[in-house]
């Protein structure tokens, strides 16, 4: 239980707050302020996982988001579990439960490890594809085991109890990265009064300053960080977002930030708190101060636990008080990495040697180390590490980096930690998300952001500016520039003084040469997460994969959670060398969002569960609930589908509801129909032009059914429109078509006929509509209204005003069932009271609530179409046998007239709406069933149409359907056949689409 690698002092951890956690079932202790990675290292946990392909033991390499190996499954329960968390980015909390995502059955004894060792040489890139591809149908079987043995984390099996959300942010300046450059930029922009957001992915702002040996104004750099943060926190317009990764840079300076608000507190969020938040930021200017990632060197067995990034070793020592070993060998190409040796010495540990690839290094850091008596082996590098689950020795040899050759025999040094540094790669990801390709700078051996078309400024290390003093200046100037460009006054400020150290240029070294050829040397890993080796990359180029994008896809270089943050530059440098071209010629792969993984919770935000999609309710919804309705989704509306009584299935309920309407009276909530109030002296002419039929002669007090077509002559909506006064109409539309009809009217008025004086306003939500339908509807309504309902006083297709249930109502005598019907419209606020009065009065008439299914059956019996069911955008009014609804003599060319007179719309044998009566009256045709005339023809058969609506009619006692059939109107009495998927056949007779009461005697009483 002891933290064997914990230093006795130092670090930013709180030693008064020990925290217990578990990893792979074992309990350990760490401190508040640790990352999980720091705590694992403190406890001497060397192996955190097994590699993807070869199943080699792997340890922690880095201290930030670039970590390729310590990718863990976190959470003690199914509901709380999250896959693929970088241990280097996960703050330690009490009770944290983590496990390796791979290594089956366990990381220390791994079946795949045997395969990896024995078969390693036989597992080149593309191994799985090449080996398991044939026979193809077995791939599924192989895949299951391979994924289990290799794979990364697994998705949770239970619902996440936490809530996630979005925050829409707008700012003048978004500063990405809270290191030296970012803090200086935020300070400059904030002081100018601009709205600033400063986002940083770590637990604390400060970045590299938190573990730097350098001083600012002679004091530890972290003191300056604290001072700046205090000033920023005091600015009203500055928003500080720690634990917030800017993961995507999208068009028009739209950036997304993944903020982990409570992941440092526990595996689920404290009650009421939001666990993670996706900030959607629209920034006028962006300052990218994303810093740089150190590049590791690629040498043999560089993946054995105990091989780490040099800078990461410094971070663990200085920030967390953890020394991940005792005896250090450092292999470097640059001056800056020497600080690791100094930190190591200061911690009281042994620096075995520094291998510097440069022949004669003399920079300030170098001299400081030399002065302390550290053994510096110049012109040399670690060419191979030894060890199985932990480094035990490193071989240092003299090399010729340019010629890629080892020039001396190796010297094996006993050690337990090899730190390497091949230079620093600016984090150009965000700068490149929108396609600006990074540019290689030979002077600093790094890619820097290329031309950007966005309103952005890069500052600090991402810009290739590395010396601390320069970084601060660069950051501050970027902040001033961004703020002034958004209209704020420039500010000046004193920046802290930095003790400058002279640094010499580093040397270009990516893959370290070995005395054996790349193919024969022990594996030199480029991308540890994907098990991509230098040999694999060479092989890929030899096999003809020359484009960097192809190399990536063939070898898997740069895939996975780390997206090649450590490996990509080394990989493309190796590919370039292998092909004898320059790094510039090789180029980089495309950088795409997201920079680091974003959880699905954050992507979904609040839009899940009940809030997944808006649900619209009518004013009568609670009555439907009380009366046991089953609901149907119609667009976003919840409409009662049917009202089953105890023990009834849908078939029985619909049969009963239909019978009640045909025999006595039923009531339907029709509130969802679209309703548009139309006023203006040209309202009537406007209707003439948008409907297919004529409106000139519709008197005040009357209502008429209308069809609407698109320009192509195809039906797109229908409904009844009533004339309320000379210049005043109310139009009804289909439920689903309400919004698009409203837009349609506005578009035509505003763009085509602005000279027509007419205005439209949606009143869909204002009016609640209750339809009383059935032979007893008149008697029932008479009991609750003062309107004269007499046959002559209130005839079919007219409307009246009056009180219904004591509430002012507009009542329309129109019918969608073929029965005597009244549609009662009242202001929605009062609908419930009216409904209750009608229902009370309706008891003696067996008033039966019915839903959309019964409505559909009843209207189909009458041959009434439903737009979107009988029509599909390819059906003209004539196809529907509704030529009676086309005003062929209207003077102005109305919408659809020209379209429906095209040759194709006029031809014979178009599909036409007919009724179908199955020969077996109990067989219900499936809706959508394809129809043929000759069922004996060979497959594929010539199809002649399809079933659009199909039901069993309780009133008529047989099944029936509506269908579109080629030339159907001329084929009355003929047979069609529906060959079904199950091999059966339903035979039906073509009949009129009007099954019930063709003369309308039932509705005209």
């Amino acid at each position: 239980m002891s933290q064997i690698n914990r230093l006795s002092r130092g670090g930013r951890i709180d030693r008064s707050q020990p925290l217990s956690f578990s990893f792979n079932g074992q309990t350990y202790q760490g401190y508040a302020g640790d990352t999980l990675a720091a705590a694992l290292l403190a406890n001497g946990v060397d192996v955190v996982g097994r590699s993807f392909k070869y199943s080699r033991p792997r340890g922690i390499v880095a201290a930030g988001c670039e970590e390729p190996n310590a990718v863990l499954q976190i959470g003690s329960t199914e509901a709380a579990t999250i896959p693929n968390v970088r241990a280097t980015q996960q703050a330690l909390y009490a009770g944290l439960t983590a496990s390796s995502v791979n290594g089956w059955p366990s990381v220390n004894t791994d079946l795949m490890g045997i395969l990896g060792k024995v078969g390693g040489g036989m597992m080149p890139p593309g191994f799985y594809y090449k080996t398991f591809m044939y026979p193809q149908n077995l791939w599924l079987t192989y895949e299951k085991y391979i994924r289990k043995a290799a794979g990364l984390g697994r998705a949770p099996k239970e619902n996440d109890p936490d809530s996630y959300d979005y925050m829409n942010q707008h700012c003048d300046v978004l500063v990405v990265g809270g290191g030296a450059a970012g803090l200086a930029a935020a300070l400059a922009a904030g002081r100018s009064g601009a709205r600033v957001i400063l986002a940083d992915e770590q637990e604390e702002f400060g970045g590299h300053l938190l573990d730097s040996r350098e001083t600012l104004d002679g004091k530890p750099a972290s003191e300056w960080v604290a001072k700046v943060l205090a000033e920023l926190a005091g600015m009203a317009e500055v928003t500080l977002l720690p634990r917030a990764t800017v993961h995507g840079y999208h068009d028009h300076n739209f950036l997304t930030i993944h903020e982990r608000r409570t992941d440092h507190l526990g595996e689920t969020a404290p009650l009421g708190q939001v666990r993670q938040r996706l900030h959607r930021v629209r920034a006028t200017r962006v300052v990218l101060a994303t810093g740089a990632h150190e590049r590791p060197l690629v040498y043999s067995n560089n993946d054995v636990p105990g091989n780490m990034l040099a800078g990461a070793v410094s971070t663990y020592v200085r920030r967390y008080g953890v020394a991940p070993g005792k005896r250090l060998v450092l292999s470097t190409t640059n001056d800056y990495a020497y600080r690791v040796a100094l930190d190591w010495l200061e911690a009281g540990l042994q620096v075995v040697a520094i291998a510097d690839a440069r022949p004669n290094p003399k920079g300030a850091w170098v001299e400081e180390a030399r002065a302390k008596g550290v053994r510096i082996m110049t012109g040399s590098a670690v060419i191979e590490a030894r060890g199985s689950k932990r480094v035990s020795a490193a071989c240092v040899a003299r090399i010729d980096a340019k010629a890629h050759k080892v020039t001396s025999s190796g010297d094996w040094l006993d050690c337990d930690l090899v730190a390497s540094s091949g230079g620093y790669s600016p984090v150009v990801h965000l700068a490149s998300h929108l396609g600006g390709r990074p540019v290689w700078r030979e002077d600093i051996l790094a890619f820097v952001p290329g031309e950007g078309f966005q309103q952005r400024v890069c500052a600090g290390a991402v810009n290739g500016v590395f010396a601390l003093g320069d970084v601060l200046t660069d950051g501050f100037e970027a902040g001033v520039k961004a703020a002034t460009e958004t209209g704020f006054k420039p500010v000046s400020g004193e920046l802290p003084k930095v003790f400058g150290r002279h640094e010499e240029p580093s040397i270009a070294l990516f893959q370290v040469p070995h005395d054996k050829s790349t193919a024969r040397a022990p594996k030199q890993f480029v991308d540890q997460q994907n098990d991509v080796t230098a040999a694999g990359i060479e092989l890929a180029t030899r096999e003809g994969f020359e484009s960097v994008e192809h190399v990536k896809r063939y070898t898997a270089l740069g895939f996975g959670t780390d997206q090649g943050k450590l490996g990509n530059i080394n990989g493309l440098a190796i590919a370039a060398r292998s092909m004898g071209i320059s790094i510039t010629q090789m180029g980089t792969t495309m950088f795409r969002p997201n920079y680091t993984p974003v959880s699905f919770g954050a992507v979904a935000g609040r839009n899940c569960g009940a809030l997944f999609d808006p649900v619209r309710y009518t004013a009568l919804h609670s009555w439907h609930l009380k009366n046991g309705a089953e609901f149907e989704d119609v667009g976003q509306w919840k409409r009662p589908w049917y009202f089953p009584k105890r023990g009834e299935d849908m078939h029985a309920a619909v049969g009963r509801e239909c019978k009640a309407v045909r025999d006595s009276v039923g009531i339907l909530d029709a509130s969802t129909l679209g309703k548009i109030d139309i006023q203006g002296p040209d309202a009537r002419e406007f209707l003439n032009r948008v409907y297919t039929n004529a409106w000139t002669k519709l008197d005040v007090g009357k209502a008429r059914y209308g069809l609407m077509c698109k320009e192509d002559g195809m039906v797109f909506d229908d409904g009844v429109t009533a004339c309320l006064a000379d210049n005043h109409f109310v139009m009804t539309t289909t439920t689903g078509g309400a919004a698009r009809v409203m837009q349609w009217l506005e578009i035509y008025q505003q763009t085509e006929w602005p000279e027509l004086k007419v205005y439209f306003t949606s009143v869909t939500d204002h009016w609640a509509t209750m339809t009383l339908s059935g032979p007893n509807s008149r008697k029932l309504l008479a009991e609750v209204t003062d309107i004269d309902l007499g046959k002559d006083a209130f005839p079919f297709m007219t409307w009246k005003e009056g009180l219904v249930g004591g509430v002012p109502a507009r009542v329309f005598r129109i019918s969608f069932t073929g029965e005597l019907s009244y549609e009662v419209n009242v202001q929605a606020d009062y609908a419930m009271g009216v409904l209750e009065k009608i229902v009370a009065a309706g008891k003696k008439y067996n008033l039966t609530p019915y839903g959309t299914e019964t409505m559909h059956v009843l209207r189909a019996e009458k041959g009434f179409i439903i737009v979107g069911q009988e029509t599909d955008g390819s059906v003209t009014p004539d196809d529907l046998n509704m030529g009676w609804c086309v005003g062929r003599t209207k003077p102005f060319s109305w919408i659809g007239w020209r379209g429906m007179n095209r040759q194709d719309c006029m031809r014979e044998n178009r599909k036409q709406l007919v009724g179908l009566k199955p020969v077996n009256p109990d067989k219900v045709l499936p809706e959508g069933a394809q129809l043929v005339f000759d069922p004996k023809q060979p497959v594929p058969m010539s199809m002649v149409g399809h079933v659009t609506s199909s039901y069993f009619s309780t009133s008529m006692g047989y099944s029936f359907a509506l269908a579109l059939v080629k030339g159907g109107l001329k084929r009355m009495g003929e047979r069609v056949f529906a060959p079904l998927a199950d091999g059966t056949l339903i035979e039906a007779e073509i009949v009129s689409s009007v099954f019930l009461d063709p003369k309308g005697d039932r509705q005209n009483i």
């Binding site: 203006g680 006064a725 306003t761």
Partner: protein
């Protein structure tokens, strides 16, 4: 007057259910934390009239002013006087909100004043409601809900915007430093109510009757 049907739609006395009636807000009132960051109140059963006309026509603007006492606001404008407010909804469209029950009389007066002009006045009182949000955390709540910039530099008091809200749309009105109103369509009211509860959970939500 015969060219348009003007109809008194609100009964003098009848059981009324506003769009958020089913939420039982009156029962929730006073039960939230006193330190709630968001306070919600439904300003229910008011008179809502949609007006459409030519705002550049002095006769139209003059008539509206004569009856309401309010100047026709320009783009994204909202003017409030006592319990009456007039809000720009579009280049030829305004929302007039008046005390509940007065909308019929006001529509009649408007029509008298506008006689001979081309315009539209429509009673939409049953179709929408006002949700008033106040408290120190309302701005954050709105930021979660809409992509429109609600910072006072962009959205000062007296501005009103029809915009996206969660996965729906509504009108946001800034009526006081920490006070905002949402004009919510009846059929979407339940969705918005659920959304507001969920999104304000971390700040604490209190209901005012």
């Amino acid at each position: 007057m015969s060219t348009v049907n003007v109809y008194k739609q609100r009964p003098d006395a009848a059981h009324a259910e506003s769009p958020l009636f089913h939420a039982g807000l009156h029962e929730l009132a006073g039960k939230g934390k006193s330190t709630a960051g968001v306070v919600l109140r439904e300003k229910k059963l008011l008179g809502h009239l949609t007006l459409r006309g030519d705002g550049h026509d002095a006769a139209f603007a003059g008539a509206v002013h004569k009856i309401t006492g309010l100047e026709l606001p320009g783009a994204l404008g909202l003017v409030v006087k006592g319990e009456t407010s007039l809000q720009w909804l579009g280049p030829d469209e305004w929302l007039l909100i008046v005390p509940g029950g007065t909308e019929f009389a006001i529509e009649q007066k408007l029509r008298e004043a506008l006689v001979g002009q081309h315009y539209q006045a429509v009673n939409v009182s049953g179709g929408q409601t006002i949700v008033e949000l106040s408290g120190p955390k309302v701005r954050e709540l709105l930021m979660k809900s809409t992509s429109y910039d609600v910072h006072p530099r962009n959205f000062p008091v007296g501005k009103a915007v029809g915009t996206v809200f969660a996965k729906s749309q509504l009108v946001i009105r800034h009526t006081g430093e920490d006070t905002w109103e949402l004009v919510v369509r009846r059929s979407f009211a339940d969705y918005i109510w659920l959304w507001l509860q969920d999104a304000s959970a971390e700040y604490g939500l209190a209901i005012e009757a």
